[in-house]
C-alpha cells in the first residue's frame, strides 16, 4: 500500500452522472481486479473508496458516479491536475478460483471493477458471460468496452429503455459460479441463484486499510473487514 500522486489524463462523463477518470501514476502494486483505491480530496476529511476499473503500467482507470460532495468535487477536476490515492486496497477477485464459464454480473457503479476482472478472466483463458444491469438507458456505460474483450454481453434496464427490461438476474438464470458487484439487493438476488462465487461489498470506511474496524462485518468465518479482508467475499462465508 502506497499513497500515490496521480496526474489526471482524462475525466469525462460517460453516462448520466457517471464519470471516467484516467490517471497517470504508479500502478505496480495492484495484484487483482476488484481492488480499490482510496482518494484524498481537499476539504473532505475522509478518503473516497473507488474500485479499480482497469489498469496498465502507470495507467489507472476509475469510473465513478456523482452521488455526494466528494464525487461532485471529483467531477470538477481537470486534466493535468493531481490527485492522491492510497492503493491498492482490498483483496480483489480470485481468478484462479473461477471455473471455465463463470457469469460476471454487475449493476450500476458495481460494473467498473468487473471490467478488469473480465479482461483478466479472458487472459486466463476462461469464457465469462457478462450481464450488466442499469436503471435506464442514460445510465448504461461500458457495454462496448466489455464486448471488445470478445465476450458475450447482455444488458438489462429496470425501465426497459435499453436492452432487456428487468434485472441482472433476469439475464443470467441459475448458474454455478458468479462474480458480482453492485447494489445490495442485486447481490442478494445473484447470490440466491448461484451455487458459488465471489461478491464485492461496500461499507462506509474510516481508513480503508484495516486499522479502524469501521467496516467490520460478520461472516460465517468470523468478522471480516470489507476494506482489507474484502471487498470481495466468497459465496460460502456471506451472511445477509
Amino acid at each position: 500500500m502506497k499513497d500515490i500522486e496521480f496526474k489526471i489524463l482524462e475525466n469525462r462523463e460517460i453516462a448520466r452522472d457517471v464519470f471516467r477518470m484516467v490517471l497517470d501514476g504508479d500502478t505496480s502494486e495492484i495484484t487483482a481486479p476488484g481492488q480499490f483505491v482510496n482518494i484524498s480530496l481537499p476539504g473532505r476529511y475522509l478518503r473516497r473508496p473507488i474500485s479499480i476499473c482497469d489498469w496498465s503500467k502507470n495507467k489507472l482507470t476509475l469510473i465513478y458516479k456523482v452521488v455526494g460532495h466528494g464525487t461532485e468535487d471529483m467531477s470538477y477536476m481537470e486534466t493535468g491536475e493531481y490527485l492522491r490515492a492510497l492503493m491498492p486496497l482490498g483483496n480483489g477477485y480470485d481468478i484462479a478460483a473461477a471455473p471455465e464459464n463463470p457469469v460476471v454480473a454487475g449493476g450500476g457503479v458495481g460494473v467498473p471493477p468487473l471490467y478488469a476482472l473480465t479482461r483478466k478472466l479472458v487472459e486466463a483463458g476462461k469464457h465469462p458471460y457478462v450481464a450488466l444491469g442499469f436503471n435506464s438507458k442514460e445510465d448504461v456505460f461500458y457495454e462496448d468496452e466489455f464486448r471488445a474483450l470478445g465476450v458475450p454481453v447482455n444488458v438489462a434496464t429496470v425501465d426497459g429503455s435499453y436492452g432487456k427490461k428487468g434485472f441482472v438476474t433476469d439475464l443470467i438464470g441459475d448458474h454455478s459460479y458468479a462474480f458480482s458487484c453492485g447494489p445490495l439487493p442485486m447481490l442478494k438476488a445473484v447470490y440466491s441463484r448461484v451455487q458459488d462465487g465471489q461478491f464485492s461489498f461496500e461499507a462506509r470506511m474510516g481508513c480503508g486499510f484495516g486499522a479502524c474496524m469501521g467496516c467490520s462485518t460478520r461472516t460465517k468465518d468470523g468478522y471480516k473487514r470489507i476494506c482489507k479482508d474484502g471487498p470481495v467475499l466468497s459465496w460460502k462465508e456471506i451472511v445477509w
Binding site: L46, L86, A203, R204, C207, G210, A211, M213, G214
Partner: protein, 303 residues
C-alpha cells in the same frame, strides 16, 4: 541536536508521538508501512475481557475536519490480545506499550489490569472510562468523579504498572474528574476521548451510523482538547497524554505547551497512515525553528 524525548512516569520515550488507541489496531496494518520503532510508544486497540464484535454497520460518518466512529470496542478479547496480538506486535516494536483497556464493571477493569500487569511488553495501563460507544458501559464511569475514583483505586490495587485514566470530554468540569483520579492514585491521565456526536443522512432520513450517535474526533476537536489539557494540567500534578485532533508537529507542540508530556495521534492515522512517521520527522526541524532545544522544556509553559 534537538532533544525531542520525553517521559511518562519514569518511562523514557524517544519522542512524544504515540498512535491513539483504536486507530492503530495492534500494529499489523502499519508495520509494513514504516519502522514502528520510530514511535514513542503505541496505545493498542481498546481491549475488553471478552471478545467483542462491536456495533452494527455503518460505523463511520464523515464530518467537517473529522469523523464519527461507533466501532464499539471490537477486539478479540484480553486473552487473544495478550497471547497473540501483543507478542506479534513485540516483534516489530521493541519499547514499552500502552495497554488500553475497557471494562463493563469494576471487577472487569480489575481483571483486565491484573492480566495486563503480567505482560512484560506493557509499560503503561491506559484505563478507558470514557468510550461513548458502548451502551451501559464506559460512559457512565467517565462522567462521575466517584466512579472514576473507584475504578482508579481498584485498578491500582492489582497492578504495579503506571495507571493512566483516559478521560471523557463529555463533561461539565473535566478538571474535577481529573482531580478525583489523581487523588485516587492515578499515575497519569490520557485525554481526550471522543466527543459525542451525530450526523444525519438527510436523503435516507436516518442517522448516518447504525448506533445513531458516536465518537467524534479529528482536527475539529483540537481546540476543545487543547482547552481540556490546559485546564487539567492546571488542576493536577501527574503527567498527561494529550490527544484530540493532533495531526502535525505543530499540533504536538501546542498540546505539550498546554500541559501534555506526550501526545497521541488518532484519526490522523486513518486518513494518512504515514501521519505519525511524518510528525516525528517534522518535530526536530520545527523545534529548531521555534528555538526549542529540549522539547520536554515546553510542557505546560502556558501559564
Amino acid at each position: 541536536m534537538v532533544d525531542i524525548s520525553t517521559e511518562l512516569s519514569g518511562i523514557h520515550l524517544d519522542n512524544p508521538v504515540i498512535p491513539a488507541s483504536g486507530t492503530f489496531g495492534y500494529g499489523r496494518e502499519y508495520w509494513d508501512l514504516y519502522d514502528l520503532d520510530i514511535l514513542g510508544s503505541i496505545s493498542i486497540k481498546g481491549t475488553t475481557v471478552e471478545e467483542r464484535y462491536g456495533n452494527e454497520l455503518p460505523r463511520i460518518a464523515e464530518c467537517p475536519d473529522g469523523l464519527i466512529n461507533s466501532v464499539g470496542l471490537q477486539n478479540p478479547g484480553m486473552d487473544a490480545v495478550i497471547h497473540e496480538e501483543i507478542p506479534e506486535l513485540a516483534k516489530h516494536f521493541h519499547k514499552p506499550l500502552i495497554a488500553n483497556v475497557s471494562g463493563f464493571s469494576i471487577p472487569e477493569y480489575v481483571r483486565l489490569a491484573e492480566a495486563m500487569d503480567a505482560v512484560k511488553e506493557v509499560g503503561i495501563l491506559e484505563v478507558n472510562v470514557s468510550c461513548p460507544n458502548v451502551h451501559g458501559g464506559g460512559m457512565a464511569f467517565g462522567t462521575s468523579c466517584q466512579n472514576v475514583a473507584e475504578v482508579t483505586r481498584e485498578v491500582k490495587k492489582v497492578t504495579s504498572k503506571p495507571v493512566y485514566i483516559k478521560l471523557s470530554p463529555n463533561v461539565t468540569d473535566i478538571a474535577s474528574i481529573a482531580k478525583a483520579a489523581e487523588d485516587a492514585g492515578a499515575d497519569g491521565l490520557s485525554l481526550i476521548n471522543t466527543l459525542l456526536g451525530m450526523r444525519i443522512d438527510i436523503r435516507r432520513r436516518q442517522p448516518v451510523i447504525a448506533n445513531k450517535m458516536g465518537g467524534f474526533s479529528g482536527p475539529a476537536i483540537f481546540p476543545v482538547a487543547v482547552r481540556m489539557v490546559y485546564q487539567v494540567a492546571k488542576a493536577v500534578k501527574i503527567p498527561l497524554i494529550g490527544m484530540g485532533g493532533v495531526s502535525s508537529a505543530e499540533d504536538v507542540i501546542e498540546m505539550m505547551m498546554a500541559g501534555a508530556s506526550a501526545v497521541q495521534v488518532g484519526a490522523a492515522n486513518l486518513v494518512n497512515p504515514f501521519a505519525c512517521q511524518q510528525i516525528i520527522e517534522d518535530l526536530p526541524e520545527l523545534c529548531r525553528e521555534l528555538k526549542i532545544e529540549k522539547l520536554s522544556d515546553v510542557i505546560g509553559v502556558i501559564v
